[in-house]
């Protein structure tokens, strides 16, 4: 089985898992309660908001990893992989921001709050966008690849900062993946969450592979055109 076929399989599986998680979120996972005992419906957003956010951090790591690999080998295929990883990161980052803003409005009464997690994540969004702005302003292909790799490595530093900031600084952002006592998730909630997380990571991988396949095909097309056109 080749990579493209695996990617399509993972895509279908990821789709099924996320759909299952979606249904479980609303029909199985027990409701979270507000301090006054009423049901907190907005908490349902978390079952997808968090997996998307985790996926964005993880995929962004590959930007830095392929950046390092590119600089060490100067192999253009790594540059392409880093670029695609950043693209998928951008997709997840924007989704995280959008769902997060909706939840913030419900829970905190405002669309936006400059608190550490939101701020650092916003900065990460800007860095991901800056990565593409940088790429677009370098004409020479190799320079573009080297600069993008260097910037990707530097930019990734913000990801762990944003991830751990809720533990270091005074943040009002809930810590879902705290482990142990404070996450306070009951079994059905936790299982739903984990399934959504796995599904989302599979989707992330599938997106990445599909885009990679597309870029490789594009390249083959270019090569063919050169052959025909002379």
């Amino acid at each position: 089985m080749n990579r493209t076929k695996i990617a399509r399989l993972v895509l279908v599986l990821g789709g099924m898992l996320t759909t299952a998680a979606f249904l479980m979120t609303f029909f199985w996972a027990n409701p979270s309660l507000l301090p006054d005992g009423r049901v907190d419906f907005s908490q349902k957003i978390f079952y997808f908001h968090v997996p998307v956010a985790e996926a964005s951090f993880l995929v962004f790591f590959f930007t830095a990893l392929y950046g390092v690999k590119f600089l060490l080998t100067k192999d253009r295929r790594y540059d392409m992989r880093a670029k695609i990883a950043t693209e998928v990161t951008l997709f997840f980052v924007l989704l995280t921001m959008a769902t997060g803003i909706l939840w913030t409005k419900v829970a905190w009464g405002v669309w936006w709050q400059w608190e550490p997690r939101l701020t650092t994540y916003f900065i990460m969004t800007l860095l991901v966008i800056a990565y593409f702005v940088l790429r677009n302003s370098v004409e020479d292909e190799e320079k573009r690849a080297v600069y993008a790799a260097a910037f990707g490595i530097l930019a990734f530093i913000d990801a762990p900062i944003s991830f751990f900031i809720t533990r270091w600084a005074e943040s009002i952002h809930p810590v879902v993946l705290a482990g142990g006592k404070s996450s306070g998730l009951e079994a059905p909630m936790l299982i739903t969450f984990i399934i959504a997380q796995i599904g989302m990571l599979m989707l992330g991988y599938a997106f990445y592979e599909m885009r990679l396949h597309e870029e490789e095909l594009k390249e083959r097309l270019e090569a063919l055109k050169v052959k025909v056109g002379g």
Partner: protein, 243 residues
């Protein structure tokens, strides 16, 4: 043909390839140049001339193949090789806000040249700029800049001089001066020159090379070249650079 302190051949280029993606700037370039020769490299825009010189001067690494300059590998012996090569470009490569003397002293420091002050004075005299040594180079004419840049290139007594279209932008008078300067140092240096000007390039060279699409189309000693046929070959490559 003169002698330099190089042991072995001035240039040994084997299967030199420089590629990024589908486009190949250099594609299996091979040739050898004896010590003390004067090589002129011709070719249309985008043929890979600048890339070739950048690799030979250690500014770029090859993707495949090897190149030895003065018997030193451009990748593994880069630092040592940098002591042996000089570059004269159409760009002066000088700081406009430093004086002539400061510019040369700065580069002397970069090369770790002993008794730098004397060496710089001598060189300024030989390119007839000693009277302007305390002026910042922003005030210099194109010809004066080119003379100073020759002095810069000769500071560390290189064995091989690379010339990247040194005549472009020079008035006839400055060209004459450049000619005589090259003639003066011709004896104990190997030259590699990129040129657009066929007449000038052929007049100076002992070996000629035509590059097109990153490949060597023609490489030979000048004595073996029939000029008419050479011009014809060169003309046929023009336009090949743009694939």
């Amino acid at each position: 043909m003169g002698e330099t302190s190089c042991t072995g051949r001035a240039l040994e280029v084997q299967g030199l390839t420089r590629a990024f993606g589908v486009r190949k700037a250099l594609d299996g370039v091979e040739f050898e140049l004896p010590d003390g020769a004067f090589l002129s490299i011709f070719g249309p825009n985008g043929a890979g001339k600048t890339t070739l010189v950048k690799i030979l001067t250690t500014l770029l690494n090859p993707s495949a193949g090897t190149a030895k300059v003065c018997g030193l590998d451009v990748v593994t012996d880069a630092v040592e090789l940098r002591h042996r090569i000089g570059l004269i470009s159409h760009n002066p490569l000088l700081y406009p806000d430093l004086t002539a003397e400061e510019n040369l002293l700065f580069f002397a420091e970069m090369y770790g040249i002993p008794q730098a002050t004397e060496r710089v004075r001598d060189l300024l005299e030989s390119v007839e700029l000693d009277h302007r040594r305390l002026d910042i180079t922003r005030t210099f004419s194109r010809g004066m800049l080119q003379r100073l840049s020759i002095a810069r290139a000769l500071l560390h007594k290189p064995d091989i001089l690379f010339l990247d279209e040194p005549y472009s932008g020079l008035d006839p008078h400055a060209m004459d001066i450049l000619d005589s300067l090259i003639a003066q140092i011709r004896g104990d240096h190997t030259f590699v020159m990129i040129s657009h000007d066929l007449t000038k390039g052929l007049e100076l060279c002992s070996h000629a090379l035509i590059l097109a699409n990153g490949r060597v189309v023609l490489f030979d000693e000048k004595d073996a070249i029939d000029e008419g046929a050479f011009r014809e070959t060169y003309r046929s490559t023009v336009g090949m650079g743009v694939a």
